[in-house]
C-alpha cells in the first residue's frame, strides 16, 4: 500500500486547509516543489537569524512600523465613528506587498534559487518583488496581463528600471488571473531552478499560509498602536480584498477578539451581472482555481468568469481560501463597493486628508465612508490603507475628468 495516506474526506483537518477550503490542486510536476517550499518555510520561520534579517529589512529598508493615523478631518466630515488609517501606503514601493516580497525573497535566496518569477495585477506586487530581487541579487521575471500593463503603465516602467523582465500575457482576460496561469506555466517548466514568489494569499499550500504570515505584522502593529492611542480595540477593521493579502494581514491578530468586526470589501465593479464585478461572495461558488479550493466566480459549467474592477489589484475571479472560511463561519463580513464609490473615496480622502489612496485601498475607504455616519462617535474604525495612488494617476485623470472633477 502507498506510503502517502489519503484523508478520509476533504474536510478532514490537515495543513493547508482552512475549514473545507485551501488545499493543493496543481499538476503533479509542482508537488515536489511545493513540499520543499513548505519544509524550507517552516525551518526559516523557526530560525531566529532569518526572522532577524527580515525584521531588519522591514524596519530599515521598507519603513516599518507604519503609522496608525487618526483621520480627523475625514471623521469630522462624516460625523460618526472615528476613522484611523493604517498607513501601509507609506511603505517602500508604495504598498503592503513589500512585506511578503522581502520575506519570500529571503526564502528564495536561502533555498539557493537564483531566478524568481511572480505575477502582478496592479503592479504593486511586481514592483515590490523587482525591488526585493534587486536588493538580494536575484534574477526577476514578472508576468502581467496586457490589460493591466496598459492601465498600470507606470509600474511597468518601475519594474523594468529595477532590472526585472516584464512579460505581457495576452491570453484570457489579460489580467491577474491570466498572469498567474502564465507564471505557473513558467514554474512547471523551470521548477528545478526557479522560485515562484506568489503575491497574494492564494494558490496551493503553503502559499496562503506563508503570505498571511508575512503580512501578520500589519495587524500586530495595528493592535499595539490602537491600544496605545485609544486604550481599547477598534469596533471594526476594514480592508479591501482582491486575493486577500492585505486583508488577511490586517484581520489576523483580531480574529480571536470577537468584539472587533472584520469587514472585507470586494470590488463591485460596474454592475451585479457576472463579468461586471469581482465580488466573489456575491455570485461566486466554491471551486478550484489556480491551486486552491475557494469561492470562484464561474458560470454554470465551471468555466471561470471574466471580472471587472477599476482597480487591477481587485480584479480577480477567486479569493484567498482563509477568507472563504472566515466568510462561512461568519467571523468576517464581506461587502462590496463599486467603481464609482471607490473613485469618490479617492477624491474625498485626497481633499480631507491630503492622502491619495490606491484605487484598491479606496474600496475600503469607501466602505468606511458609508458606515462611519451610521455609528456612534465612540466607535473606532481602522481602515487598512494598503497602497498609495500614484500608480493610478492615468486612470484617475481619465475617470475623474468624465465626472467633471
Amino acid at each position: 500500500m502507498a506510503s502517502i495516506i489519503l484523508p478520509a474526506s476533504p474536510s478532514e483537518s490537515r495543513p493547508g486547509r482552512f475549514g473545507i477550503y485551501g488545499g493543493r490542486y496543481v499538476p503533479e510536476t509542482l508537488v515536489a516543489a511545493l513540499t520543499e517550499l513548505e519544509r524550507e518555510y517552516e525551518i526559516a520561520k523557526a530560525d531566529a537569524a532569518f526572522q532577524a534579517e527580515l525584521n531588519a529589512l522591514l524596519t530599515d529598508y521598507a519603513g516599518r512600523p507604519t503609522p496608525l493615523y487618526f483621520a480627523q478631518r475625514l471623521t469630522e466630515s462624516l460625523g460618526g465613528a472615528k476613522i484611523y488609517l493604517k498607513r501601509e501606503d507609506l511603505l517602500h514601493t508604495g504598498a503592503h506587498k513589500i512585506n511578503n516580497s522581502l520575506g519570500q525573497g529571503l526564502l528564495a535566496r536561502r533555498m539557493g534559487k537564483k531566478r524568481v518569477i511572480a505575477e502582478t495585477g496592479a503592479g504593486q506586487h511586481g514592483v515590490a518583488t523587482a525591488s526585493a530581487c534587486a536588493l538580494l541579487g536575484l534574477d526577476c521575471v514578472i508576468y502581467m496581463g496586457d490589460v493591466d500593463m496598459e492601465r498600470q503603465e507606470l509600474n511597468v516602467m518601475r519594474m523594468r528600471l529595477l532590472g526585472a523582465e516584464v512579460r505581457g500575457v495576452s491570453s484570457g482576460s489579460k489580467t491577474l488571473k491570466d498572469a498567474i496561469s502564465e507564471a505557473m506555466r513558467d514554474w512547471v517548466t523551470n521548477v528545478r531552478t526557479t522560485y515562484y514568489l506568489l503575491g497574494s494569499a492564494l494558490g496551493a499550500h503553503p502559499y496562503p499560509t506563508m503570505v498571511r504570515d508575512f503580512h501578520r505584522v500589519i495587524s500586530k502593529e495595528m493592535k499595539r498602536q490602537i491600544l496605545e492611542k485609544e486604550g481599547r480595540l477598534p469596533s471594526a477593521v476594514i480592508a479591501c480584498v482582491g486575493g486577500g493579502s492585505n486583508a488577511i494581514g490586517a484581520f489576523y491578530e483580531f480574529i480571536p477578539d470577537r468584539q472587533v468586526r472584520l469587514i472585507g470589501v470586494e470590488a463591485g465593479g460596474r454592475g451585479t451581472v457576472l463579468g461586471e464585478h469581482a465580488a466573489r461572495f456575491q455570485g461566486g461558488a466554491p471551486g478550484v482555481l489556480q491551486g486552491t479550493y475557494s469561492y470562484v466566480l464561474q458560470d454554470e459549467d465551471g468555466q471561470i468568469a471574466l471580472t471587472h474592477s477599476v482597480s487591477a489589484g481587485l480584479d480577480y475571479a477567486s479569493i484567498g481560501p482563509e477568507h472563504a472560511m472566515l466568510h462561512d463561519t461568519g467571523r468576517a463580513e464581506y461587502v462590496s463597493q463599486d467603481d464609482a464609490a471607490a473613485l469618490d473615496a479617492v477624491v474625498k480622502l485626497a481633499r480631507t486628508e491630503g492622502i491619495l489612496p490606491a484605487l484598491e485601498s479606496a474600496h475600503a475607504v469607501a466602505e468606511a465612508i458609508r458606515v462611519a455616519p451610521t455609528l456612534p462617535a465612540r466607535d473606532i474604525l481602522v481602515v487598512n490603507l494598503s497602497g498609495r495612488g500614484d500608480k493610478d494617476m492615468g486612470i484617475l485623470a481619465r475617470e475623474l475628468k468624465l465626472q467633471g472633477i
Binding site: P10, E28, V191
Partner: protein, 265 residues
C-alpha cells in the same frame, strides 16, 4: 471495460472536444481509432488551462467559443462508445468543471456513457479521497499523472491509486511539441515500473507531453507501454479544415507507428 494496449507500442490520442466542433471531434476520434489509436482522451475545454501550452490553449478557446459544455462531451463519449465498443475512452479535464457538474453525478454519467477512465489534470492523490471513492464506486479507472520531479514515495502512491495506466509526464513543463525527448522520460518510466510491477497489477505506463513524431514514439516504445500524442494532433486539426481533419489525423497516426512496426519485423 478495461483499458488495453493491443498494439505495440500503444497509442493514446488526446483531442480537445469541440474543436473545431463536436461533430468534427467525433469524426476525428473514430478515424483515430480506426488508424490504430488504443485510447482516446476526450479533453473537456477549460477557460484557464494552466498545464497546457499555446496549442491546446487555443483549441480550448475555440471549443469554448462554440459553446462546448461538459454534458456535450459526455454525450460525445456515449456516441463514441456505441460506435467503437473496443476502444479505450478517457475523460480528460481540469477539476473545476467536474466539481461544478457534481463529482457523483459526473462519475455516474461518465460511467453510463461508457468511458473507461478519468484523468483530472490538477488533482493529486492527496486531494483525491472523495474522487477515488466515486471513481471506484462506478468502476471508472482513475488515471494520475506522474512527473520527473515526483519522488519515489509519490510514484508509489500514484501507481497504487491509478487504474488503466499511469500517465508519465516526459519532462518538467506544459503540454506542447518538442524536438527531442529528454532523458527524464526513460528515467521516470523506469522508476514508475518499480511500483507497477512490484504490486502484481502490471499497470501500463504511458508517456506524454511533447510526443511529436514517429521517432519519439519509437523511443517511448523502448521503455514504456504507450505514447500519448496531444499537441501535435491538435495543431494538425487547427491547420486542417473540418472536412480534411479526420483524414489528416488518421494518416498522422499511421505514420507514428510505422518505424516501430518496421523495427519489430
Amino acid at each position: 471495460m478495461p483499458i488495453r494496449f493491443d498494439h505495440k507500442p500503444g497509442l493514446v490520442v488526446y483531442l480537445t472536444a469541440g474543436d473545431p466542433s463536436l461533430e468534427a471531434t467525433r469524426e476525428i476520434a473514430l478515424a483515430a481509432v480506426d488508424a490504430g489509436a488504443d485510447v482516446i482522451e476526450l479533453g473537456v475545454p477549460f477557460s484557464d488551462p494552466l498545464a497546457d501550452g499555446p496549442i491546446i490553449q487555443r483549441a480550448s478557446e475555440r471549443a469554448l467559443a462554440r459553446g462546448t459544455r461538459l454534458k456535450d462531451v459526455l454525450a460525445l463519449a456515449r456516441d463514441l462508445r456505441a460506435a467503437r465498443p473496443a476502444a479505450g475512452l478517457v475523460m480528460f479535464s481540469y477539476l473545476n468543471p467536474i466539481l461544478r457538474y457534481g463529482l457523483g453525478r459526473f462519475a455516474d454519467d461518465a460511467a453510463s456513457a461508457g468511458a473507461d477512465g478519468v484523468l483530472a489534470t490538477d488533482l493529486i492523490v492527496e486531494e483525491a479521497a472523495e474522487y477515488l471513492a466515486e471513481m471506484n464506486r462506478v468502476h471508472l479507472a482513475p488515471i494520475f499523472l506522474a512527473a520527473p520531479t515526483s519522488p519515489d514515495e509519490r510514484l508509489q502512491a500514484i501507481a497504487a491509486h491509478s487504474k488503466g495506466f499511469v500517465y508519465a509526464i516526459s519532462r518538467t513543463g506544459i503540454t506542447g511539441k518538442q524536438q527531442n525527448l529528454t532523458a527524464d522520460a526513460a528515467a521516470l518510466a523506469a522508476r514508475i515500473r518499480r511500483w507497477t510491477r512490484s504490486d502484481g497489477k502490471g499497470l501500463p505506463v504511458a508517456v506524454g507531453f511533447g510526443i511529436s513524431n514517429a521517432d519519439h514514439v519509437a523511443q517511448v516504445a523502448e521503455f514504456a507501454d504507450a505514447a500519448v500524442v496531444g499537441s501535435s494532433i491538435v495543431e494538425l486539426i487547427e491547420r486542417s479544415t473540418p472536412e480534411t481533419a479526420a483524414g489528416a489525423v488518421a494518416r498522422f497516426i499511421k505514420g507514428l507507428r510505422a518505424p516501430a512496426s518496421a523495427l519489430a519485423r
